[in-house]
């Protein structure tokens, strides 16, 4: 954040400090709500995290719920129950969404109102092609430009998320952040930190198709890549994931990031987190992924 608001605050504090007096104000106690978090996709086992909200003045640990009943429904049929795994996580490795479309989550726990959420898995959008160009910056560093091409469907509003991993010769991988001046990415991400931060760096960017709805689009991003020296694992290829995400997924991540970004700015308006869980808090959001490997 720029320093300027701090100087304005400094001036205001100077003016007010001699008069200020603090005292307590009574705040009605918050009745805990059930919090469920789940992202689901056709190639992924059902996972649901269940916990309860904590009063803003409570400094204790967030309490997870271990005795909830977690059910997955499709239409009017219950498809599966998701058993408790650990640390508030309910997991069914044997069941996963079988097809794109609408799915419903029901969670009930003693002492809480039953919560429900509905969301869809959007169809995967294949990556048609990726071209890269790399420039060596130093002995062990490169800048790699990616041009990622795909066809955006014209019959719907589409939301996306991009992930790029570097895979090394020892089987390890690295989750890369990236820079981008691509207008689609710039309009949806809030990673910049004031006017001096000109590299437009972002992790796992979100974007939507407002600027290119229904057309062939090429997304531009750049990675700063560090490779190890002699004896270090060798970077072999990049795996690029283009996630087609639901609108709920997009809105939730957007507001989570925005709240985090503006938390320390006294001049920023408060950010409400997008929720789609009826009678509770949290998110139940679908996505589908397409992937593309390209060598370094």
């Amino acid at each position: 954040m720029s320093k300027t608001p701090m100087y304005i605050l400094l001036a205001l504090c100077f003016v007010l400090s001699s008069c200020e007096k603090s005292l307590d104000v009574e705040l009605p106690e918050h009745e805990p709500l059930l919090v469920v978090n789940s992202f689901f996709a056709t190639d992924r086992a059902w996972e649901v995290h269940v916990s309860q909200s904590r009063d803003i003045l409570d400094r204790g640990e967030i309490e997870v719920i271990e005795d909830a009943v977690v059910e997955i429904w499709q239409g009017s049929e219950m498809v599966t129950e998701v058993p408790y795994f650990n640390s508030g996580l309910y997991r069914n490795p044997l069941a996963q969404p079988t097809e794109p479309g609408e799915w419903k989550l029901k969670v009930s726990a003693p002492g809480f109102t039953t919560v429900e959420a509905v969301d869809t898995i959007p169809p995967a959008i294949p990556i048609r092609s990726i071209s890269t160009e790399k420039r060596q910056l130093g002995s062990f560093s490169y800048e790699v430009d990616f041009e990622i091409n795909f066809d955006d469907p014209n019959d719907s509003d589409n939301f996306y998320r991009l992930e790029i991993f570097g895979h090394f010769s020892d089987g390890s991988y690295w989750d890369y952040g990236m820079q981008s001046n691509d207008p689609a990415i710039r309009q949806s991400n809030f990673e910049n930190d004031g006017p001096f931060d000109t590299d437009n760096f972002v992790y796992r960017p979100l974007f939507n198709d407002v600027l290119f709805n229904g057309s062939d689009y090429t997304l531009d991003v750049t990675l700063d890549v560090w490779i190890g020296g002699a004896g270090q694992p060798e970077l072999q290829f990049f795996r690029v994931y283009l996630h087609s995400v639901s609108e709920a997924y997009y809105n939730y991540i957007q507001t989570i990031r925005l709240q985090d970004r503006s938390r320390d700015n006294p001049f920023a308006e408060p950010v409400f987190i997008f929720q789609n869980v009826e009678n509770g808090l949290g998110i139940f959001a679908g996505y589908s992924s397409s992937e593309f490997n390209i060598s370094f």
């Binding site: 005292l23 009574e26 904590r54 640390s87 006017p195 709240q259 001049f267 308006e269």
Partner: protein, 780 residues
């Protein structure tokens, strides 16, 4: 539509004006009403013949025109605080008069008699208008001894103050940008000093204060919620006079007098705080300081009975500065310095011309500029970097207004105006220098560059006595706003009417308003950082429709005025920062940071006022509700406006104990502000292809925008004023003010912190405990 408006305007100018030709058997008395001692023209003085029950009031320049049947009459002129003038006249030709009224200088004079014949509330067609006598403003208690026009206005029903101690005005659910604040016709874009704790208006130089909250006459346009007209004194054209005051935080001095003859007069008035000067000797190498000053100057010259010229200038600035030095060793030093400056300049050149005894014209040229600037500079050895942020607005405008009074039943006003706005909605410059190598890193980093816009308007209104019971002000205001490729035009009909039933006046009003400029603000404090921006192709002009109904009458032998008014107002195309956005997100265009929505406000206001006698003051109560709805805020759900105040009680009383001694007191009570507070924290997640990634407990849950009510606000202020009288005239006044007399801790803002037992708590910061202050004002 605009063409039709212009055609109507031309019709009035060229067709109706000849109506001023003499009607058979009638003659016109015209002229000016002025203060006998200073020559100051009196605004709103009542000029009438009590026998025929026909009359008029003086306009902003003290001019009146009254056409009556030939014969004898008792021309009576009355004005609050002055002895009335009654002249027996035989009207057999047109007359031009300058009527001088003698001030009823001290209590015990014939003010009560004056009260019998001034225009009463039930006689006026307009509703929602309050004239606040400057003497009354001076007599009420004040914070730190600084008499403040805007803070006195906050004591009226329907006018809210926003936060503790600040001078912002929130009128009938509107925002601070929706008030057209006119200082001698020039718009003032930021009317506050010291982050809003004092207003820029110097009461010593102020002649009249009028606030219109609804039922707007057609001559006003450009704002949704109110018009505040502040007219400066013209200057004493009879003798040289001076007055000043010494207070705890500021002193002020005003000089006025004739220049050469009584045809030219001037007034100059200045005020400055001096905390910075007093504190400077006690500071070491690290310096921090703040001051503000105001300067009002006005000169007028009467060229002939038909021509008079006025030039008025206001300049006021706030300056905060700091300088820190750190030394690391011989020759190794780092210096950080900077400042925040903001202020207004306004100037108005006005030419009064009398075309005939029924047609008065005023031509005005106006310049107004508001600018906010932050400068920060770092120096370390031979390296220097400097950053500068600035924003502001600059207006150049011209207008012509006509007053045409064909007969006592009609007072027609019409005019046109043109304004050229230059907006600077935030620009950021950075310079870095090492040795002799100067690098301009980027001249303007902010994408929001200067924006030029033009605004044209025309209006026509008639104050029409339809029958002895029914009186109406009917008008139409038209505007055209051009910015870039966008052009917005509007026709705004206005109507206010009064119908007498016995002693009661039933009043109604309807007004549509259009505002082509917006204020970007998110601190709610009236911060100098607030940005004025124009309507653009993406951000539409604000619009409102306001309906009002009320009853009014005088009580207790016309010593009191009583009114009850209800209103309903809708507002469209309001703007708010999007959630998470702030004014200093410099990489973003301001248009990307805002969202548009609507507002609704309704309420009931009760007002009981006593304007004259030994005891004066008022009691006001308002019951109101105001909400906002933005698609991108609060998930599209309606929410209370921050300054939604359900109950608001205001009491202000002054009493003359003896000729030398006055006591006054004010008490205010208001429902607490609606604020947004996090109520809980909960787990969130940001998955990757490989992991669900649960993060615990940092994400905040809000149960709604502005869903929490801060504690109620109430405060009692008391003042005692002792007047020193020499040779029958007041030569000085010693004022003791006690602000917040019962030491109530009112909320300034709330935050989550720790209490004295180190436990997490919702904390309230209160600013002003009981504050006694002493000031002395003097005259010579």
């Amino acid at each position: 539509m605009i063409k039709r408006t212009i055609a109507a305007f031309l019709f009035v100018v060229f067709v109706m004006s000849p109506l001023g030709a003499q009607q058979s058997g009638n003659f016109t008395i015209s002229g000016y009403v002025q203060d006998q001692e200073s020559g100051e023209r009196l605004i709103g003085a009542n000029v009438f013949d009590p026998d025929q029950q026909l009359g008029t009031t003086t306009n902003t320049y003290g001019f009146f025109s009254l056409t009556l049947p030939a014969g004898s009459l008792r021309l009576t002129v009355a004005y609050v605080g002055y002895r009335s003038s009654i002249s027996e006249l035989s009207l057999d030709r047109d007359l031009q008069l300058t009527i001088s009224l003698q001030p009823a200088a001290v209590a015990g004079d014939t003010i009560e008699v004056v009260g019998e014949i001034i225009e009463q509330i039930e006689e006026r067609s307009q509703m929602s208008v309050i004239d606040l006598p400057v003497l009354q403003i001076r007599s009420l208690p004040s914070l730190l001894g600084e008499v403040d026009v805007l803070k006195t206005l906050q004591l009226l029903p329907g006018v809210l103050s926003g936060n503790e101690g600040t001078s912002g005005l929130y009128i009938r659910g509107g925002g601070p940008d929706q008030n057209l604040i006119l200082l001698d016709d020039a718009p003032v874009y930021n009317a506050s000093h010291l982050f809003g704790f004092f207003s820029v208006f110097n009461a010593d130089a102020t002649k009249t204060v009028r606030l219109t909250k609804g039922g707007f006459p057609a001559r006003f346009g450009g704002r949704l919620s109110s018009v505040l007209e502040i007219n400066l004194k013209e200057g004493n054209n009879q003798e040289f006079k001076g007055h000043g005051a010494v207070g705890l935080i500021a002193s002020r001095l005003t000089l006025e007098g004739p220049l050469g003859s009584d045809k030219t007069a001037f007034i100059i008035s200045g005020r400055r705080t001096y905390a910075d000067i007093i504190a400077r000797p006690f500071m070491g190498e690290d310096i921090i300081g703040y001051y503000f000053y105001d300067l009002n100057a006005k000169i007028n010259h009467t060229f002939s009975p038909k021509n008079r010229l006025y030039l008025s200038i206001y300049n006021g600035d706030d300056k905060f500065n700091f300088e820190n030095r750190d030394s690391f060793g011989p020759g190794e030093e780092r210096k950080e310095s900077g400042g925040i400056n903001w202020g207004n300049i306004t100037s108005t050149l006005r030419w009064n011309h009398l075309f005939s005894n029924k047609l008065f014209a005023n031509t005005t040229l106006i310049f107004s500029r508001y600018r906010f600037e932050v400068e920060i500079e770092n120096e370390e050895n031979d390296f220097r970097e400097q950053a500068r942020y600035f924003s502001g607005i600059r207006d150049i405008s011209g207008k012509i207004d006509f007053d045409y009074i064909p007969n006592p039943r009609h007072h027609i006003r019409y005019g046109i105006s043109a304004v050229h706005h230059t907006f600077e909605p935030g620009a950021f410059q950075v310079v870095a220098e090492e040795g002799s190598d100067l690098t301009l890193l980027d001249s303007v980093l902010t994408p929001s560059a200067q924006i030029e816009a033009s605004e044209f308007s025309a209006y026509l209104e008639d104050d029409w006595d339809i029958t002895s019971r029914l009186k109406a002000n009917i008008g139409i205001h038209s505007s055209l706003f051009q910015v870039g490729s966008a052009s917005y035009q509007s026709i705004q009909p206005r109507l206010s009417a009064r119908f007498l039933v016995g002693d009661w006046a039933f009043k109604g009003a309807f007004a549509t308003m259009r505002q082509n400029i917006h204020l970007l603000t998110n601190a709610g404090l009236g911060m100098p950082t607030d940005l004025w921006v124009p309507a653009t192709p993406r951000v539409l002009p604000q619009e409102s429709v306001q309906y009002g109904l009320g009853i009014a009458r005088s009580l207790a032998d016309k010593k009191f005025e009583f009114s009850v008014e209800g209103y309903y107002k809708t507002m469209d195309n309001l703007i708010e920062y999007r959630e998470g956005a702030a004014f200093l997100d410099l990489e973003e265009d301001w248009q990307d940071k805002v969202t548009s929505g609507s507002g609704e406000s309704y309420g009931l206001e009760v007002f009981l006022q006593k304007k004259h006698g030994r005891t004066t003051g008022w009691l006001g109560y308002s019951l109101a509700e105001t909400n906002r709805k933005f698609p991108d805020v609060n998930f599209g759900e309606e929410f209370p406006y921050r300054y939604d105040r359900r109950h608001d009680v205001k009491i202000a009383v002054s009493h003359q104990l003896q000729d030398h001694l006055e006591i006054s007191s004010t008490w205010v009570y208001g429902t607490g502000n609606a604020i947004t507070l996090a109520r809980a924290t909960f787990t969130d997640t940001e998955p990757t292809i490989n992991n669900i990634n649960i993060f615990s407990g940092t994400t905040e849950y809000y149960d709604g925008r502005n869903s929490f009510r801060a504690p109620a606000y109430h405060r009692l202020d008391i003042a005692l004023r002792y007047h020193r009288v020499v040779d029958g005239e007041r030569s000085g006044t010693l004022s003791l003010s006690i602000y917040n007399a019962y030491n109530r801790y009112n909320p300034y803002f709330l935050y989550f912190g720790e209490n004295d037992d180190n436990e997490p708590a919702l904390r309230q910061v209160s600013l002003f405990p009981i504050i006694p202050s002493l000031s002395y004002s003097f005259h010579f």
